[in-house]
Amino acid sequence: MSPKTAAQPKEGKAKPEKKTTKPEALDPGTLVDALRQRDDHSMRLMLIQRPDLVHPVPTDIAKLAARAATNSSVTRVLDRLDAWTVGVSEVISVLNEPFTKKDLEKVLNNNDKIGAALEKLRLLAIIWGDDNGMRFVPVLKEVVAPHPAGFGPCFLHERPDLAAIANQERIEEIVSKGPKGTQEVLNELLWGPPVITLSKLNRDAGITSAKNGHEYLMAHGVLVATARDALTLPREIALVMRTPSYLPEDISNNKNIKTKAQRDPVQVDRAAGAAGLQFVQLVEELLDNWGETPPAVLRNGGLAQRDLTIAAKICNDDENIAALLSEIAFSAGLLAAGDDKEQVWLPTPAFDVWRTKSVEERWAILAEAWLTTTRVASLVGKVGEIRINALSPEVDKPLAPEIRSLVLDALAALEPGFEPDPEAVVEYVTWLRPRKNKEEIETLVKAILGEANTIGIRGLGVLATTGRALGEMRYTMPSPEARTAAARAAVADPKGYAVKPDQMLVSAIAPLLPDAIATFVLQADLTAVIPGPPAAEVASELRHMAYQESRGAAQVFRFTESSLQRAMERGYTAERILEFLNKYTTTEVPQPLEYLINDLVRKLGDIKPIDEPIDDTVPAPNERRSPARVRPRPAPEGAPPDAALLDAAIKALRAGEDPKAKPVTPAAAPNKTPASKIAELCREVVDKVISGSKPGDVCITITYVDTHGMSSNRIVEPIRFEGGLLTGFDLTDSRIRDYAISRIAGAEKGKK
C-alpha cells in the first residue's frame, strides 16, 4: 500500500470521506435491526460484557439499542478495551458512514489484526453490519472526543486554503524551508495531542517575521491558531502526514514482558509458602492484639499513624506490612470499626471462626479478599505532602481489582520461574487499559506486585503456584447465584461460618506449607509447645486452656491457674482437659499440671459438664469484638448479571418484540397466604433455581397488589430473592420484574 494509492482526503474534501459512489459500502441499517438479528448466544456474550444494559432489563430491543448507544454505556465499553481496539474505534469515528473493512485496511497497517478488532467492537455493539458496510454508534464521536486517535479538528470550511497545503510534497517543502526545529514541532503534534499552548505566541507573525518553528508553521497555515496562545494541527494535515497508517506502528501489538531473572520454581513456591504462612500468622497476631487493646478509629475512618507504628511493632515488621495486614483483614471482613459505644477497630465475630480453620483455608480467605478488594494498602503513608492513613477511605481505588486481575494474567503468561521487570508489567497493563490514567496504573501495578510478595502469591518476585491458582480462580469464582446465596447467608450468619474458602486456592497453598502438627510437647514449666504450624483443632482448643506466649513457626502456650479457670468457666471439665492433653501430647502430662487442674476443681467447686461441643469461636472475656458485620464486598462495576437473569432478560426482550406475544393468564387467584409462608416459598423456589433447576421449570403463581391497590395474579419464574424483593421473569406480561414481598398477598407453587 503506497501513500499515493491509499484512500485519503483528496483535494476539496473537508473530511476524510469515502467517495459516496463507492459501490461496496452497503448500508447495514439501524442498530435495532442488527440487535434483533442476533442470536441468543451473541446476545448473551454482549450482555455479560455490558451488564449495564440489563440493569434494569429494558422492555424491548429498541430500548436496549437506545441504551447501548448512550454516552455512559459506550464509555464503559471503551474503558475496558485494549489500545489497539480503542485505536481502531477512534479511527472508525473519523470515517464516514457506512464504511467497509477495506476502508480501514487502506488507512491502517496490520491488516491482519483489523478483523479481530472489528469483531470485538461488533460483538459489543459499538459497530454493526458486515465487513462490506458498517456503521458505528453516533455517540462514539462524543466518547472519543476531543482528539480521536490524536487527531485535531477539521478546519477546511474555515480555512479553504488547507486543501492546497494538505498534500505530502507541499508539507515537506514548507518544513524543509522552515527554521531549525520545525520538523520536531510537527512531529510532536502529529500523534497527538494535536494542540500546543505557548506562553509567547505572536499570532500576527507572518512568513518572514516568524521567530520559531511554531510561528513559521502557523504563518504557512500548517498549524492553526485556535486560542490566544494555542496552536492546533488540523486533522486534514495530520491525515496526510500519517499515511500510510493512521495509528502508530507499535500500538497493534502488545510487547512481551521483559524479565529480569530466572529462579527455580521449587524455590519460588517455597518462598511463597513461607510468606503465606507468615502472613496468616501475622493477621492473627495483629487482630488478637487489637481484640484486647483496640486502636481508635480516626474521624475520617482511618487508623492513626501512631497505632500503625504500634501494629508494626506487634508484627515485628515494618509499617507497610502492618498496613497490608490491617487492610486485608478489613477486606476479608475480619476487622471492622467498632461498636456504637466507642469508635475503635475491633476484630469481627468472623475472625473467631476464621482462626479455627486450617492455615491453608485461612490463607485462601485472605488471598481471595486481596484479589477482589478495592483497597490498596501500599498507598498508605506516602503520596507527596498528604499522609494517607491505613483503613481510611483514601486507600479505596475502584480500579484496583481490575488491574490486579490484569497483572495476574500478565504474570501467568510468563514462562514459569521468570521474574518480570515491573516497568514492563506497567507498560503491558497500560496497553490493555489505554483510556485509564497512566500514573494511577503505574502506582497500582507496583503496589500489586509488592503486595503479592508479602501475601505469598509471588515468591522471590516470581508468580508462584498460589498466584496461578488465584489467577485461575477468577474464572471459577462463585457464580453470581452462589454469591446471592452467600449474601443471603451472611445476613443469617454474621460469624461467617458460611464463608467457604476456594478449594482450588486451598489445595494450591497446602503443599507449600510445612506440615501442620497435631501434637504438642508438655513441659514441667507448664508450657505446651507445638513445634511447627499447628493443626487447627489443636491450636484452637489449646488457646482456651492456656495463654499463647510465643508464636511464629512454632507456638508456645502457657497454662496458668487463670487460663485453666477460664477454660472451666467456659464449660471444660477437668476430665475433658486432661483427656485432651493426653490425647495430643507426645510427652507425659507433667504432674504439677495435672495437680493444678484437679486442684482447681476443688477450688471452683463442681462444674456442670456441658454435653454439647464447646463453641471454640467464642472469644475470651478480655477480648472484644465488633458487632457482626457483613463482609465489605467491593462492587465497583456492579455485579455481572447471572445466567438466569440473562436468559430471562433475553426472553423478555424477545417477547417485547413480538406484538402477538400472548400473556399467560393465571387460572385462578391463589389463596391468601401468610407473609412468613410467602417468604418461605419464595426462598424455596429460588434455592431450586440456584441449585440447578432451570427457572422455567420452577414457577410460582402470586397474587400481587400493585401500587394502585389493584390486585392481579402473576406467574413468575424466579431468579433471585433478596432484600425483600423477589426478582423473576413474569410470564404474564413477559418481562423481568421485582416484586416487593410485602405486596404479595398469596403465593402457590407451579402454574395455575
Binding site: 507468615q278 515485628n316 515488621d317 513441659q523 508450657t527 510465643s550 508456645v556 510427652t587
Partner: protein, 553 residues
C-alpha cells in the same frame, strides 16, 4: 526447609528441641549469642537480646555467622525482620571504642560522625567526656570510663573497650592439683575469662565457681581482691584457696566486720564495703589499698549498688564475676554487662547434672491446708501480714517433722525466712538453729558437725542462702522464703546440689500453704526451677503424713 532442631520465632525466641540429634551441635552454635531463658525437659528456649548479640560481638562473632547459624539449624524459614534486626544490632557494637592515645590518654573513638554527634547530644554523656580532639576522637577522663560505658549501653551504642588493663602487682599463685583436678568446663571458663580480660562466668551452684576463680588467679599471678557476700563464705574461700593453691595463710587476708587485713590476696564482704560511717562508705578505699591486678566478684547477681558505682571507677582493673544466674531481681543485668563485663561462660544446670558434676535433684512441693482458725486469721489479715501468716502456719511443722523422720539416715537442712518459725521448728526437731545472730565461731562449729555427720539436722535462716559449703546435705526442706525470689530458690536448691559421695539423688522439699499467697509465690519460684530443668511434683500434706507419696522412696 531443613529438618533442623531449631525453630526461630518472630518474637526473637529460639526453640531448641533437645531430643533432636543435632541439638547438642546447635546449642553450641547458638549459645554465644542467645541467652538461655528456659531449659525444661524437651524444648529449651533461647532469646536473642541486644546484650546477647553484643556479648557475641565482644567474643569476636560477626552478624554473618549469627545469621548463618540461624539459617543452618532452623527447621522453618527464619523471619526476615529478625535477620535484619540481628545485623543492625550487631553493627552497633564497636562503632564506638575506648582507646589509649599516647598524647591524650583515654579517648572515645568513633568513625561514624552521626553516631558520635548523636551520643554527644545526650545530656548524660556530656558531663562524662572532655575536650573534642577531632571529628572522630574525644577525650575521656579515666575515672569516667565505667560511667561512660554504662551510659553508652543505655543509649544503645555499646562501646568496645580497648583501653586495656593495668597488670597490678605480680604475686605468684599456682594451683596445687593434688587429689583433684581442674574439670574441663572450669578450665574453659577460666581461659575464656582470661582471654576476654573481664567478664562474668555463669555456673550452677556446686559446679565449683571458687575453683574457676582460683584458676584465673593462678593464670594471672597477681594481687587479687575477692568480694564475697558474707563472712562465712569469706572463710570458705579462704580455706578453698589454701587447699587448692600455693597460697599460704599469711598471703590471704580477710577484710570483714571483725578483721581488717590487707594482704596480696584479700577477701572482703559486700557488707563491710557498703557500711556507711558518717554518710560515707569508709571501706571503699580498699579498692585503692593495693595495686590489685584482679578483682573477683562472687555472686555477682547480688552486687549491691554502691559497689557497682565504685566498680565504674576501676575499669582499668581486670574483673571476674561469678554467679549461678544472671537474673537480677532488680533488673540491672545491663550494668553487669557494662561494668563487670560480658558473659564469658555459661552452662545449663541440667547438663552439668547429667555429666555428674552436680547432684541430680528431686523437687517436691508439699501442700498443706491451713487449719480452720488460721484461715480466718489469714482472711482478715492486712496484706503485708498475709505472707508471713501463710508461710508460718503451724500445720507445716508436722509435715516437716514427718519429712525429717523419713530422711533420718540423710543429712537434712531446714531453711526458712522467719526466725520465730525456725526457733519453733528447732525445738520440735531437737536441732540447732543457725541465724544471723549466731556467732561466726558457733556457726562454723555447727557446720563442721553437720559435715562430719555428728549432726543430722540443721535449721538455718537465710544466712545459709549463699556460699555455704555443706556437700553432704542431701535433703533441704524450705518452709518459707523471701516471697517469690527466683535467685533465692536457685541458691537454696544449690545447697543440696553438691555431688554426693554415693551419687544419691538430692531432695528439695518446699512446704507451701494452699490457697494462699504462699502458694502463688511458690508457683513463681517453681516455674524458675522447672525452667532450669528441674521438674517438680506437687503432693498433698495428707499423703506425706500417711506415707502415701508414691515416688518418695
Amino acid at each position: 526447609m531443613t529438618d533442623g532442631p531449631l525453630i526461630v520465632q518472630s518474637d526473637k525466641t529460639l526453640l531448641l528441641e533437645i531430643d533432636h540429634e543435632l541439638s547438642a551441635e546447635a546449642r553450641r552454635a547458638i549459645a554465644p549469642f542467645a541467652e538461655l531463658e528456659r531449659s525444661p525437659e524437651h524444648v529449651h528456649t533461647y532469646r536473642i537480646t541486644p546484650l546477647g548479640l553484643w556479648n557475641a560481638r565482644a567474643a569476636g562473632l560477626d552478624a554473618e555467622s549469627v545469621v548463618d547459624t540461624l539459617l543452618k539449624y532452623s527447621r522453618y524459614a527464619v523471619p526476615h525482620g529478625l535477620l535484619v534486626d540481628v545485623a543492625e544490632l550487631m553493627d552497633r557494637y564497636g562503632r564506638l571504642s575506648l582507646k589509649k592515645d599516647p598524647v591524650h590518654g583515654l579517648i572515645l573513638h568513633c568513625e561514624d560522625l552521626p553516631v558520635l554527634e548523636e551520643i554527644l547530644r545526650s545530656k548524660r554523656i556530656q558531663p562524662l567526656v572532655g575536650q573534642r580532639i577531632d571529628d572522630q576522637n574525644i577525650v575521656v577522663h579515666p575515672s569516667e570510663r565505667g560511667q561512660l560505658k554504662q551510659q553508652l549501653l543505655k543509649l544503645g551504642w555499646p562501646a568496645e573497650d580497648y583501653a586495656g588493663y593495668v597488670d597490678g602487682d605480680a604475686h605468684a599463685i599456682e594451683l596445687v592439683q593434688k587429689g583433684w583436678e581442674l574439670r574441663g568446663y572450669q578450665q574453659i571458663a577460666s581461659e575464656s575469662f582470661v582471654h576476654g580480660g573481664s567478664g562474668v562466668v555463669v555456673l550452677p551452684c556446686g559446679a565449683g565457681k571458687t575453683i574457676v576463680g582460683a584458676s584465673a588467679m593462678a593464670t594471672l599471678a597477681t594481687t587479687t581482691l575477692i568480694l564475697v557476700t558474707n563472712t562465712v563464705s569469706a572463710r570458705q574461700w579462704r580455706s578453698e584457696l589454701l587447699k587448692r593453691t600455693t597460697l599460704t595463710e599469711d598471703e590471704i587476708g580477710e577484710y570483714s566486720g571483725s578483721k581488717k587485713e590487707i594482704r596480696p590476696v584479700t577477701i572482703a564482704t559486700y557488707q563491710v564495703l557498703t557500711t556507711k560511717r558518717k554518710g560515707v562508705y569508709a571501706h571503699l578505699e580498699l579498692f585503692d589499698a593495693k595495686n590489685w591486678g584482679l578483682i573477683i566478684y562472687d555472686e555477682v547477681h547480688l552486687l549491691p549498688a554502691p559497689v557497682f558505682r565504685f566498680t565504674a571507677d576501676i575499669q582499668s582493673r581486670r574483673r571476674l564475676g561469678l554467679t549461678a544466674t544472671l537474673v537480677r531481681e532488680d533488673g540491672r543485668e545491663d550494668d553487669v554487662f557494662s561494668l563487670i563485663g560480658p558473659k564469658r561462660f555459661d552452662a545449663p544446670w541440667k547438663d552439668m547434672a547429667d555429666q555428674g558434676w552436680i547432684a541430680p535433684a528431686d523437687c517436691v512441693e508439699v501442700r498443706v491446708t491451713l487449719p480452720e482458725h488460721e484461715r480466718l486469721t489469714y482472711a482478715t489479715a492486712e496484706r503485708e501480714d498475709k505472707y508471713r501468716l501463710a508461710s508460718t502456719t503451724l500445720s507445716k511443722n508436722t509435715v516437716v517433722e514427718t519429712l525429717v523422720a523419713k530422711h533420718s539416715d540423710d543429712r537434712v537442712l531446714v531453711i526458712g525466712q522467719y526466725l520465730d518459725q525456725l526457733a519453733e521448728l528447732g525445738q520440735h526437731l531437737g536441732a540447732p538453729v543457725v541465724d544471723g545472730s549466731t556467732p561466726i565461731k558457733e556457726r562454723e562449729k555447727l557446720f563442721e558437725a553437720f559435715r562430719s555427720g555428728d549432726l543430722k539436722v540443721l535449721v538455718v535462716s537465710k544466712v545459709a542462702n549463699f556460699s555455704l559449703d555443706l556437700p553432704e546435705a542431701g535433703v533441704a526442706i524450705q518452709v518459707s522464703g523471701s516471697f517469690g525470689s527466683r535467685q533465692e530458690e536457685a541458691q537454696r536448691l544449690g545447697r543440696v546440689l553438691r555431688p554426693k559421695a554415693d551419687g544419691r539423688t538430692a531432695r528439695f522439699y518446699a512446704v507451701v500453704a494452699r490457697d494462699t499467697i504462699d502458694a502463688d509465690f511458690a508457683a513463681h519460684r517453681q516455674r524458675f526451677l522447672a525452667e532450669q530443668g528441674y521438674a517438680y511434683r506437687i503432693i498433698d500434706a495428707a499423703d506425706v503424713l500417711s506415707g502415701k507419696d508414691p515416688k518418695a522412696n
